[in-house]
């Protein structure tokens, strides 16, 4: 998929684990894993907002569009 998820990189930069993020944003670890591994088909604005709030980042830090993989 041309939309790439960089949740792992942002988590690493913030020294935060997926489990900690899961507790902060109140989203199951399973769902966050789906998002992190790029297996998610869609993401809710509310999820994006919660993640950006918890990681103090912008949606663009988590998601990017790679035209070459189109």
């Amino acid at each position: 998929m041309p939309v790439r998820v960089h949740l792992d990189d942002v988590l690493h930069a913030r020294r935060m684990t997926l489990t900690e993020l899961s507790e902060r944003v109140d989203i199951t670890l399973a769902n966050l894993s789906i998002l992190k591994t790029g297996k998610a088909k869609a993401i809710r604005f509310s999820t994006l907002e919660a993640i950006c709030t918890a990681l103090a980042c912008q949606p663009g830090d988590i998601l990017s569009f790679d035209q070459e993989t189109l």
């Binding site: 989203i27 769902n31 789906i34 297996k39 998610a40 088909k41 869609a42 809710r44 999820t47």
Partner: protein
């Protein structure tokens, strides 16, 4: 166990009870069909005892056999219908009712209801023949609610198909 869980469990039990009753009815009809096969003089004797010589026993036995044969496709349709209903209830129990297979099951239910409706029409014909043969038979009236049920099942199957597609979309949403 919540009230809805109890209701679901009770529904599955009711469906199972109907399946057993249906199987028993089919068994009885098959047994009756075998009992009226050629050579069953006791049936002719019983008919003569009841109607004396006002009816032709051979014609009445043939009539009875056709009527009993009519019950076989109905028994099959009801079994398929109830099996589909039970499978649907199980998916509700598992928490995943909005799946494509349930849309197909609803469509099967629609077709099976249609079989029952056509058999009901045939029963109307059988009732008319019974009148011509001067024998006692069940009263018959066309069932409009049955035709509406067929329509509802097919419409619900389409709605379910759409619901299943939406659920599939949601499954990958985080």
């Amino acid at each position: 166990m919540t009230r809805s869980d109890r209701l679901l469990k009770a529904s599955i039990l009711v469906v199972q009870a109907f399946r057993i009753a249906n199987a028993a009815a089919v068994f009885l009809f098959v047994a009756a069909l075998i009992a009226t096969l050629p050579g069953a003089e006791w049936v002719e004797a019983a008919l003569l005892r009841k109607y004396h010589h006002s009816v032709d026993p051979g014609a009445v036995i043939a009539f009875m056999q056709v009527t009993m044969l009519l019950s076989l496709p109905v028994g099959y349709a009801i079994e398929r219908l109830l099996a589909a209903l039970r499978a649907m209830l199980r998916t509700v129990q598992d928490g995943e009712p909005f799946v494509g297979t349930n849309a197909a099951r609803l469509r099967t239910i629609g077709w099976m209801l249609l079989v029952v409706q056509f058999a009901d029409l045939a029963l109307g014909g059988v009732t008319a023949v019974a009148g011509m043969l001067h024998i006692e038979f069940l009263p018959w009236q066309p069932s409009f609610t049955g035709w509406i049920a067929v329509l509802i099942a097919f419409v619900l199957a389409q709605v379910f198909e759409r619901g299943a597609a939406l659920q599939a979309d949601l499954d990958g949403t985080v």
